[in-house]
């Protein structure tokens, strides 16, 4: 026979609450999950930044491509990016001063001093690298590389490649070295097969082919 008093005592025992250990363990688990959420948030902000960097890089690449596309076909054959006449294919602008190949985030062409700061820009954020190769008929190629001027009509087209590189600091797993500068970047750094491969270098590459749409220059007559 159980008395009413002992029953009450049992009930009181049953509702006596959590022990300190229990509460601490719960708090710990809760803290860990909150910390996870915070980490998730910071990763999410990082990936948003990565997306916006990528988008800007695409914009830079598109602008460079449109600048090349707006040049005459013969111009592309006649001079390289440094203005040297009759370049050998393929030619690139890698020999150009990297300072001239830097592009700024959020900086449209403007009639202002190059050193003036424009709102929202990030100085020297992107490095542009361009490459032009020729496409010729293997059965009827020009007599040499570079092609003699009278044989420019034998260049059937050019392959245009624009690569935009930037330092991607949005991945905590691969932080870029503090000393790395944008002008030090090279396209090889984004090639997994290369010894220079660096996972913290972002890259956008556009490639297109332009056919010889200029009026063909007839070979010199007799």
């Amino acid at each position: 026979m159980v008395s009413a008093a002992s029953l009450r005592t049992a009930a009181v025992r049953r509702q006596r609450g959590f022990t300190l250990i229990e509460v601490l363990v719960t708090l710990l688990i809760f803290a860990i999950s909150v910390a996870g959420l915070v980490a998730l948030e910071s990763r999410s902000i990082d990936s948003q930044r990565a997306a916006s960097q990528l988008r800007e890089a695409e914009r830079v690449a598109q602008q460079e491509m449109s600048a090349i596309a707006s040049r005459g076909f013969l111009e592309l054959i006649a001079r390289d990016f440094a203005g040297n006449a009759n370049p050998t294919f393929p030619y690139t602008d890698d020999a150009l001063d990297p300072g001239l190949r830097q592009r700024d985030f959020h900086r449209p062409p403007a009639d202002i001093d190059n050193t003036a700061v424009v709102m929202g820009e990030v100085r020297g954020q992107y490095l542009v690298s361009r490459r032009i190769d020729w496409i010729v008929n293997p059965l009827n190629p020009p007599s040499g590389n570079p092609p003699p001027e009278l044989e420019w009509s034998l260049v059937n087209g050019v392959e245009i490649e624009v690569t935009v590189l930037w330092i991607d600091d949005t991945n905590p797993a691969f932080p870029p070295p503090a000393t790395l500068r944008t002008i030090d970047l090279t396209p090889a750094m984004t090639d997994p097969a290369s010894a220079d491969f660096s996972p913290f270098v972002g890259r956008v590459r556009l490639r297109t082919v332009r056919v010889n749409d200029a009026v063909l220059i007839p070979p010199a007559g007799p």
Partner: protein, 535 residues
């Protein structure tokens, strides 16, 4: 038994008030935390989405403009120094060369400039004399085309590519006179107007409502000084068979305001006006009649009439307006219109009785700046046997390299120069130029080159002449778009619009926004400067 029930009841009696309150407080904290996270997420997603929307607006607008810029002047600009266009409402020619002296040239009601677009198929309006703001002082009519706006506008004329490029296929059979309601054209022996299917084929090349350009005889080589103004006329009905087996009749009734033969063919160009027009050289048997399809003359400008909602719009100065223009032409079916429904586009000049109507292109585009790159001048291209034309300044061109295969040849590339002895300084972009005391040297034979000094007197201080009369070799367009919603100052948002081309940093009417710009460079592919081989 009773005891057990009592006990289980006690078990099931629920939480105490304290327990409930603690649980509620704890869960409230947790929910608040989650809510805070989701709010942050929502905010960043919102920012992201708005940015993407601005970028999309920019890309879309640039695509529309780019399509037109690339095909500007298609079909005629390499063949003609200018298009002669008749304005029936005011009984006048509106092309600059249609005036006997520069002072009499027709100017646009909004831009205040002569219609140089009829020369190259493209014309930038960057005249912003003294403009202190993007919107300018236009109020409800505020637009980037007005000189008081610091933003730019752009005119283009594009023809339909599938109709153009047929110079010499159709030639004028007999001189046009004022009483003619049709152009008699001859073709080669491949077409026979006695065969109904051949007539049907030619009909499809000249749909009613489309345009034809009359060009001087194609037996002349494409040397600048042998080019002439061309005549724009509109087809008003179906093509019919002509008198001979190779003759067809293209109706150009005066029901279309463009077809005033007497007005178009008048020779009122005494010196020093446009001497590139001689009706007896163009209105002759053998002159080429080129179909250009439904030619469209469009103006891209920013509409600032609602100052917080700037919009990129397109006005069609030659275009079809529903319920305004005739839309019942044609007795046979055409690709774009069934029999009896072909539209007849007409001239809609700003300020006229039937002004152009705006077509929305892109929202929230706050600024458009247009720069024109030019470095295509060659003395050979401008050489003329006509003693009445002043030779362009031969030292105007940028000298080429001192050595190598290009030694001594002019540098024809549009580039940003560095100062060097013997070269003009800085850039070759007009509408931007750091030192605009030097203009690019894309000059070209035609009305703009005749009496250049007189044109400069009329057009004001566009230094130095010729300024916007340049034939553009490359066109660089920058659009600035801003987000739809106000942001807090101090972050990425600002109430200032970043400097673009020759426009300094300026306050915005839109407010504090994050802004994005998009710059693209286009080569109008049909202009003569594309290929130096064509003189």
């Amino acid at each position: 038994m009773k005891m057990r029930v009592q006990s289980s009841l006690r078990h099931a009696r629920g939480f105490t008030l304290i327990e409930l309150m603690v649980a509620m407080v704890v869960s409230a904290i947790v929910v608040l935390g989650i809510f805070a996270f989701s709010t942050i997420q929502q905010t960043t997603t919102g920012i992201h989405e708005r940015n993407v929307r601005v970028q999309q607006a920019l890309e879309g607008a640039m695509f529309s403009i780019g399509q037109d810029v690339r095909s500007a002047g298609l079909g005629w600009s390499r063949l003609c120094t200018e298009l002669r266009v008749w304005d029936a409402e005011n009984n006048r020619l509106i092309n600059p060369g249609g005036a006997n002296i520069p002072a009499n040239a027709v100017t646009d009601d909004v831009t205040g400039e002569a219609y140089w677009v009829l020369r190259d198929g493209i014309q930038a309006h960057w005249n912003s004399s003294g403009a202190g703001s993007l919107a300018g002082a236009g109020g409800a009519a505020a637009s980037s085309a007005r000189p008081d706006s610091a933003a730019d506008a752009l005119d283009v004329i594009v023809a339909e590519p599938n109709y153009t490029g047929s110079i010499g296929v159709f030639t004028l059979a007999a001189t046009l006179t004022g009483a003619d309601a049709a152009i008699r054209v001859n073709t080669g022996p491949a077409l026979d107007s006695t065969i109904p299917t051949h007539v049907a084929e030619v009909q499809q090349l000249f749909p009613p409502g489309s345009f034809v350009v009359l060009v001087n005889p194609p037996n002349l080589s494409f040397r600048a000084e042998q080019q002439s103004q061309c005549v724009l006329m509109q087809v008003t009905a179906d093509v019919a068979a002509g008198a001979g087996a190779q003759e067809f009749s293209i109706p150009i009734a005066n029901s279309s305001g463009f077809n005033n033969i007497n007005g178009l063919m008048v020779d009122n160009n005494g010196a020093p006006g446009g001497d590139d027009w001689d009706p007896t050289a163009v209105n002759v048997a053998g002159a080429s009649v080129i179909p250009v399809g439904r030619l469209r003359w469009s103006r891209y400008e920013l509409d600032y009439s609602i100052n917080r909602l700037p919009y990129l719009v397109r006005y069609d100065l030659i275009g079809f307006q529903e319920d305004v223009d005739v839309g019942n032409l044609g007795a046979v079916d055409y690709p774009h219109c069934d029999a009896g429904t072909c539209p007849q586009p007409s001239l809609h000049l700003p300020g006229s009785g039937s002004p152009p109507q705006a077509v929305a292109i892109g929202p929230m585009i706050e600024d458009m700046q247009v720069a024109v790159g030019c470095d295509g001048y060659t003395p050979a291209g401008a050489a003329s046997a006509d003693a009445t034309i002043n030779d362009p300044d031969l030292t105007f061109e940028e000298v080429g390299p001192a050595e190598g295969p290009f030694a001594g040849l002019a540098n024809l590339t549009v580039d940003e120069n560095t100062p060097a002895s013997g070269q003009r300084t800085r850039d070759e972009w007009l509408g931007n130029a750091v030192e605009e005391a030097w203009a690019p040297d894309c000059v070209y034979y035609g009305t703009g080159e005749y009496a250049a000094a007189d044109w400069a007197l009329v057009e004001g201080d566009q230094n130095p002449p010729p300024a916007f009369r340049m034939s553009p070799q490359a066109v660089r367009i920058t659009l600035v778009g801003s987000g739809e919603f106000a942001e807090e100052a101090g972050g990425l948002g600002s109430n200032l619009v970043i400097p673009v081309e020759d426009r300094p940093e300026m306050a915005s009417d839109v407010g504090v926004r994050q802004r994005f710009s998009l710059t693209e460079r286009f080569a109008p592919e049909n202009l003569r400067w594309r290929d130096p081989q064509i003189q």
